[in-house]
Symmetry: C2
């Protein structure tokens, strides 16, 4: 696994992305092998370009107000395999190979480990 | 397929959801059978409760500023099979059985049908 495969996006594709009032767009991260939705985070235009050029996910941390190169601290890097934008351009989907134990800061593989309902352990 | 299976969420689970300044939380919708990410939309507290109680996705339309019971017009309803919230409570994941042709208003199965790169047809 760990290897970076940059994606050479066209400017018209990058120009189709719609940012919110804070200059951010939500990015869903999905595991390539399992299809599991791992997490959602936010990109600005700069970190979207970094993600595509570096071939690994780079977000904008809203809490720290800084570039967040996922896994630089934890080792749990996400190697980009494809990147899509939705019909109205305001959401991104990154399909990745997840390195390390998982995407979540809790140690869970996916951040979505709590389900609504009586049995609150998510099965997805 | 089409059948509603309500989810009986606990109040402490519902209370774990964090809404943004507009009272909204993003909801990722994933197809149960294929694992495909179909779309992302937004819920407020009312439409999250409606989704769980009715067993089908109900969103808040930001453009129309009204309750959006997905599929009432198009027939492309989404039958809820599980619903999760992430580690910090600010994103939802709905796993659904998608009725009809797809989730996207363009007729595509998934809203994420455009990929960055030379070949801009998404494969996920």
């Amino acid at each position: 696994m760990p290897d970076a495969t940059p994606i050479d996006a066209r400017e018209d594709q990058l120009g189709s992305v719609v940012y919110d009032a804070n200059g951010l767009v939500p990015a869903i991260v999905q595991d390539r092998a399992s299809g599991e939705v791992l997490m959602m985070a936010w990109c600005n235009e700069k970190t979207l370009r970094m993600t595509l050029e570096e071939g690994r996910t780079v977000f904008w941390s809203r809490s720290r107000q800084e570039v967040w190169r996922k896994g630089d601290t934890s080792g749990e890097r996400q190697w980009l395999r494809s990147a899509s934008y939705d019909c109205d351009g305001d959401t991104l989907l990154f399909v990745v190979d997840q390195e390390g134990g998982g995407a979540c800061h809790t140690g869970a593989r996916s951040c979505f480990f709590r389900a609504f309902g009586v049995d609150d352990t998510a099965t997805t």
